[in-house]
Subunit: 328 residues, 2 copies
């Protein structure tokens, strides 16, 4: 593992993304701060183009491909947000994209991926390996596989959100005690950790996961890659990767603090608070770090903390379910 | 009317608001642009502190009060967003605020105004004059009345959102053909018009209103201040002012293009699109300018247009009603 990506790689990715990705706002709310007894900032990546942070990594990856490879297109697999980010990055660069998506992905994510002009291949999340299907397509067409998280070009692209968080906090005169981000395979959280540790070494960085899909939290404890028992069954459809990546895990061991694990109900409550106080639409998987802050699993009292709300691609029914948990 | 506020007053307000109000993002969506055949930007003032643009004008007003007057506090009347903006501005400056609010204001707006430490006096929107109640309180306590729109300090504060729109568009290399904002008494739309016309004279500026409460649109046509027939009955609870202001109307005549009038159903559809494509929570009154762009009443085809989504303080039930208008 001699070639783990570095802080400088995140900085280089930021230069490639200039004018492409949105510098999403860092939001704060006086009532929420009073309630928590500290300062909580939300990095609103749900407002990013394609509705999640995933465009950052995908566009960075495609920018680094050779001209010859670009002509043969790209193939990827994703529950939805990487699909949309990759499809849109390919559209922006005039490349062909084929995306392997689970048949039970949210309708909205399927429709949006199609709208970017990508070809979609559906698979059964439990019975079929999306990696095998995607790899077969790549072998047949010569397309380049763009993995969802376990690649230096992907995770350093995602890490650009971390650069922005620290820069935006600094502009407000704030030093962050902790930063937390949602985690599926670990691309976002380790990329952000590279960025945050590079600019602010004393800030701790944490990955949030849904209960039952806390492979990274358990792996960080045991010191070896643990697997989840299940491949589906959380409301957090974006966070169901079975095990940490070969690149993201050593980075996580080096850079991340203890993992944060939240229940589906805590996630729904966080979505409702994001609606009510921050006027943000956050999808379940995008709300796990916020849920950790609101439940005290990531302490905010007396501290200054930033959480990434990483996506907003949520169906009407799921969003209404979150709203119905509280009258007002 | 020798002392109508000017572009320079908006620039001065912007300096007062630095570090206080959020520079809200200017958002764009590739799918929506493709659908409309042009470029549509949303100025997301629903993400502003207190959930609407109203903090801009209120804080600017309080900053311009004398030290002696500040000690006696402020009084205001509002269906909710000005109440929250004024209460929060007073809290930030350590001043006492009393707010006259309609008894049928959304529960959320009442609760949030209370949370900023303001004293609330409820009134009957149809039977009682909020101006009379507020004026009586001011006479008794010596508090300064902070009007919701018809004052130079208020409307130039709101206009700072317009400066940001043009600056943010310029940073993207874009020249705007038109800008539109929601309108109740006209403080936001005329303030924005002052700013936009100052920086980009060829850009047209329009005010959006709900059908049945289109006093400004009719006044601009007839050349004199028209009144609405009703004082309640639209889903746009923030846009029910009965007639244009004495300061806002001459400014509107000088600076605004034809008014834009949309139905409640068109507003609900716009809220649903803001949820689905922009991941924003927009309240009904905040969505009228967006509704005008989506329905073609404000043409986007072949043009570049920015609309202000001015607030996000919406109850669960109303938001769920908007979402239920479309499956997916």
């Amino acid at each position: 593992m001699s070639s783990l990506p570095t802080f400088a790689d995140v900085q280089a990715a930021a230069r490639r993304l200039e004018g492409i990705t949105l510098r999403t706002p860092l939001l704060e709310n006086a009532r929420v701060n009073a309630m928590l007894g500290g300062r909580l900032f939300i990095k609103a990546e749900c407002l990013q183009r394609t509705g999640s942070f995933k465009l950052r990594g995908a566009y960075n990856f495609l920018s680094l491909m050779s001209q010859a490879d670009r002509k043969k297109g790209v193939v990827g697999w994703s529950s939805g947000n990487h699909a949309q980010g990759l499809a849109e990055a390919a559209r922006l660069m005039g490349m062909k994209a084929t995306i392997v998506m689970p048949a039970d992905a949210p309708a909205l994510k399927l429709a949006n991926t199609r709208a970017s002009g990508a070809e979609i291949v559906l698979h059964d999340r439990v019975k079929e390996s999306r990696e095998e299907i995607g790899t077969a397509i790549a072998r047949k067409t010569g397309a380049t596989i763009v993995p969802p998280y376990d690649h230096p070009w992907i995770l350093t692209g995602q890490g650009t959100a971390g650069l922005e968080i620290v820069e935006q906090a600094k502009a407000l005169g704030v030093t962050l005690d902790a930063v937390a981000a949602p985690c599926s395979g670990g691309g976002l959280s380790t990329g952000i950790a590279l960025a945050v540790k590079g600019l602010s070494p004393a800030t701790s960085v944490h990955a949030g996961e849904p209960a039952g899909f806390d492979d990274l939290a358990r792996s960080l404890k045991s010191g070896k890659k643990e697997k989840n028992d299940k491949l589906s069954g959380s409301i957090c459809d974006a966070l169901l990767a079975p095990t940490p990546g070969d690149i993201t895990f050593p980075l996580a061991q080096k850079l991340l603090g203890p993992g944060l694990v939240v229940t589906d109900d805590e996630v729904l409550d966080a979505m409702e608070l994001a609606f009510r106080e921050f006027k943000l639409v956050v999808e379940p998987g995008g709300a796990v770090a916020l849920a950790a802050a609101l439940t005290g699993k990531l302490p905010v009292k007396g501290r200054t903390v930033a959480v990434v709300c990483s996506g907003g691609n949520v169906d009407h029914a799921t969003f209404s379910r979150a709203l119905s948990r509280r009258s007002a």
